[in-house]
């Protein structure tokens, strides 16, 4: 029995509409769109977030919403799911004009969002998470047996019945938790399912599994809104796409009819050329290891996270760390900068042996680490941009000698201009900024101490292409100025574009080191990682 059949009775009563689209999804041609948003406008204190935006969703299709950060994707989704009320415009669901008073209202109209796995309760069981708020009630309160059965049937419906509803959620990988959150959204049998960046923390195999589930939902006639920065995933899964830029719709395509290059240039216009420029710039400034490396890590290791690694770093060199998540690449970055203490091994700076024991110690040697968890272990969100930028420099100087106001202003002016941040943002709270701008603030903090070594762990994660280009341009510029950069990224094309030398890691070990050159491509690294597997 399908979800749709289980619930069709209930919806039939509620909407009074004709029977819903059949599960094969063939109703697309016959019936009208499930959702039609027209002329949606929305204002935020910062300006207009959405300007006359239209979006049409059909049953049984995956509709990709494309655009850079700040293009208005999130806002549009929030209007669609009832989180925000639009200032102007119309939302028609199943031929009826609606105004949603809140997410619950949107849900009862059949529009639901699957939130990211972070919104689940890790202390509850899988089944409890799926059914949270939809528990089946019997005479004596919640009927746990039937509730668990429903959870089981919802999971089965999605083809993920290998997840036992009775097990705790905390035991699941982020990928499986993502699936649970989709199951949670499917409990109310929505006509429209919204997925905002569902794959941002998933590995390739996990993404494939998610797509199987989406395929299944599509064939059941659910309209899926899919937001992702990963172009290839969009091409794999989506049928149609709407492209937003600066709060306006700049294109609507059938996925199979639009070329990648055309899509990219629609999304961001001039950024493509900029990336090519960075690549050629870096090629012109390749650093060939010569003289003595100023920095040398000797047999640094961390138990359970990284086997012993030796690494030499030269001035003005970009060293890329390539490998999957969990390969030890972040650990290596942390050990190099003192962000984590190594269990064994030493670091030699200018020939002097040092055991780095804390971030503060690394800082004293002007080694900086910008980690991937910006919100958790990077920025202090409630402090201002000014204070956040100042923090490391101030920590380096000690609390007794505050950096003079004039010096701060000069420094801040220079950094904000360099990183292309609005000078007026200096006194804004960091938590209010977009992800891309937060990354810039973090970068500014480390530039303020004039680092000798800057370790960047996933600096472009969940950023739009324009912001990614900007970060990469900064890395290239820093290397030109003689700063050594250790660049860690899941996006191998970035690593290949920027690095002079690439260290490949796998299963907590360095499996090779390659000097970058014309013959090197993303495939070389992928093959290296894959080939290594065959040996075992």
């Amino acid at each position: 029995m399908s979800l749709r059949e289980i619930w069709s009775g209930r919806r039939g009563k509620r909407t009074g509409a004709a029977s819903p689209t059949s599960r094969s999804g063939t109703g697309r041609a016959g019936s009208g769109p499930v959702v039609q948003m027209t002329g949606i406008c929305m204002d935020f204190p910062g300006g207009r977030a959405l300007d006359e935006v239209s979006l049409t969703l059909h049953a049984g299709e995956v509709h990709a919403l494309m655009g850079g950060n700040g293009a208005g994707k999130s806002t549009l989704i929030k209007v669609l799911t009832g989180v925000h009320a639009a200032a102007d415009g119309q939302i028609v669901v199943d031929g009826r004009s609606r105004t949603f008073s809140g997410p619950a209202d949107a849900e009862s109209a059949g529009v639901t969002a699957a939130y990211q796995e972070t919104f689940l309760c890790t202390n509850l069981s899988i089944g409890e998470n799926v059914m949270l708020g939809h528990e089946i009630r019997g005479l004596l309160g919640i009927d746990w047996v039937r509730t668990r059965q429903r959870a089981g049937s919802v999971l089965a419906e999605l083809g993920i019945d290998d997840l036992d509803p009775r097990l705790p959620l905390s035991g699941l990988s982020p990928a499986s938790q993502q699936l649970v959150s989709i199951a949670r959204a499917m409990v109310s049998a929505p006509r429209v399912l919204v997925l905002d960046e569902p794959t941002s923390s998933l590995e390739a195999g996990e993404t494939a599994r998610l797509f199987q589930v989406l395929d299944r939902l599509r064939s059941q006639g659910v309209a899926i809104v899919f937001v992702s920065h990963f172009l290839e995933q969009v091409y794999t899964i989506s049928d149609r796409m709407t492209v937003l830029r600066d709060g306006r719709v700049v294109g609507e395509f059938l996925t199979r009819q639009v070329e990648r290059a055309e899509l990219i240039s629609t999304m961001m216009g001039s950024s493509l050329q900029a990336l090519q420029e960075i690549g050629s710039q870096r090629r012109d400034h390749r650093v060939e290891p010569s003289d003595q490396p100023w920095y040398r890590a000797i047999a640094v290791a961390q138990q359970g996270a990284l086997e012993e690694v030796d690494l030499e770093i030269y001035g003005g060199e970009v060293v890329g760390l390539a490998g999957l998540r969990g390969s030890g690449r972040s650990t290596l970055g942390r050990l190099l900068s003192g962000a984590s203490r190594s269990d064994s091994g030493t670091v030699e700076i200018g020939g002097q042996a040092i055991r780095l024991h804390s971030p503060a110690h690394g800082l004293a040697h002007r080694l900086a680490f910008a980690g991937e968890r910006r919100r958790h272990a990077g920025l202090i969100e409630e402090l201002t941009v000014r204070q956040n930028v100042l923090l490391a420099l101030q920590a380096m100087r000690g609390w007794r000698t505050p950096v003079a106001r004039g010096e701060v202003d000069a420094l801040l002016g220079h950094l904000l201009e360099r990183l292309d941040l609005d000078a007026g943002a200096a006194d804004a709270t960091v938590g209010e900024l977009s992800g891309g701008n937060q990354q810039k603030v973090l970068l500014a903090r480390w530039l303020a101490i004039r680092p000798r070594l800057l370790v960047l762990d996933e600096p472009t994660r969940s950023m739009d292409v324009a912001a990614k280009v900007h970060v990469q341009a900064q890395v290239a510029a820093l290397a030109r100025e003689g700063v050594s950069v250790v660049f860690i990224s899941s996006e191998l094309d970035e690593v290949v574009r920027l690095s002079d030398r690439i260290v490949v890691l796998k299963d907590r070990e360095v499996i090779g080191e390659i000097s970058n050159g014309p013959g090197l491509s993303v495939d070389t690294i992928v093959e290296m990682i894959a080939a290594d597997r065959d040996e075992f």
């Binding site: 935020f44 204190p45 994707k73 971030p359 409630e382 100087r397 609390w399 007794r400 900024l433 977009s434």
Partner: protein
């Protein structure tokens, strides 16, 4: 004329945006209530015999001095997302040390003995603060548990020091601190104001304040930025202990007797309330020392008002609770939003995506 007026307006406007404006308004409201009861309530008179200033306002200031001290210390601890429950007990320990020393001293009336007693009391109090700091920073015990232990142990320690007695002593030096006047103005008030200003200056003119806020908001991120939280944590707990020691001397020296069961009893709760009224969130982060001082003044004013109005002593705690709840509600952004909604639709405030 217009210029002074506009400057005054700007000043008042800035005050209106301070988190402790509701505390200030609360004090004003209580004083107004008292004035309606007795029009001469705010009067300050000069005693012609000795030039002392006298009046209800001065009484309030004098009584608030110990609470101001512990509130300032508490404010810094709370800013690091900690709490210091031991301040009341530390007050008793400090008083016990000072009184015991003076009672045993060969020349209790000498300035030297008074200075020694003071120094000893403050040293012991600081040590207790240091113990808190070390346990929180290095052993990573929960601040609540750590200071709960020192709170219980401190009261016990005070009793051990005095052998369970309420020790009395006499020392002109200490008595001068508690009851003396400079230019007719109480010495305790001068010391309390000076210490509060000194600490405020130290914290805000150095980078200490920013760093304390940073570790209070997100310790991991602060550590990654190169801040060393250990030293900061120890500093704030030590400072809190030291200030509690000062408060202990203030409150025992007025009567030159330490009451080991009652000196500082439950005052940690007053200090916590003062900090909250001052607009510092218990979750840590942004703090306002000025707010903590306002909070301490409000609590003393409230205590005085209760007595002045003749509220039956059984009903006193309830009366206090009502006033404090009203102020906390007025501060709550949620409650304020509720009232704003009544007046008309608000524009949705949202992070810029």
């Amino acid at each position: 004329m217009t210029q002074t007026y506009s400057r005054l307006r700007a000043g008042l406007g800035a005050l209106a945006h301070k988190p402790y404006i509701w505390g200030v308004l609360g004090i004003v409201a209580l004083l107004i209530v008292n004035v309606t009861r007795d029009p001469g309530y705010l009067q300050i008179s000069v005693n012609p015999a000795n030039g002392y200033l006298a009046g209800n306002l001065l009484d309030i200031l004098r009584e608030s001095a110990p609470i101001v001290m512990i509130s300032v210390g508490m404010c810094l601890v709370v800013a690091t997302s900690g709490i210091d429950l031991s301040v009341g007990s530390v007050m008793a320990v400090s008083g016990a040390v000072a009184m015991e020393f003076l009672q045993a001293a060969s020349a209790p009336q000498s300035t030297m003995s008074a200075a020694m007693a003071l120094l000893l009391a403050l040293t012991v109090s600081s040590l207790l603060g240091l113990v808190n700091g070390v346990l929180v920073a290095y052993v990573r015990l929960q601040p609540f548990i750590t200071t709960l232990i020192t709170m219980l142990a401190g009261r016990g320690l005070a009793k051990v020091i005095t052998g369970g007695q309420n020790t009395s002593a006499s020392s002109d030096g200490l008595a001068w601190i508690a009851n003396g006047r400079v230019l007719g103005f109480p010495v305790v008030v001068i010391i309390a104001i000076a210490l509060a200003l000194l600490i405020g200056y130290l914290v805000r003119r150095s980078a200490l304040g920013m760093m304390i806020e940073a570790i209070g908001i997100n310790e991991t991120a602060s550590r990654m930025a190169g801040i060393k939280p250990h030293g900061l944590l120890i500093t704030v707990y030590l400072l809190s202990g030291l200030l509690a020691g000062v408060a202990g001397v203030f409150s025992t020296a007025t009567v030159m007797t330490v009451d080991v069961s009652n000196t500082g009893y439950l005052l940690e709760l007053d200090a916590i309330l003062a900090v909250v009224i001052g607009g510092t969130a218990l979750s840590g982060g942004k703090f306002s020392l000025g707010g903590a001082v306002v909070g301490a003044l409000l609590i003393t004013t409230l205590d005085k008002t209760v007595v002045f109005l003749g509220v039956p002593s059984a009903a006193t705690p309830a009366f206090k609770a009502v006033v404090i709840i009203v102020i906390c509600l007025a501060q709550s952004s949620r409650v304020r939003a509720l009232f704003r909604d009544r007046r008309g639709p608000v524009r949705m405030k949202e992070r810029v995506a």
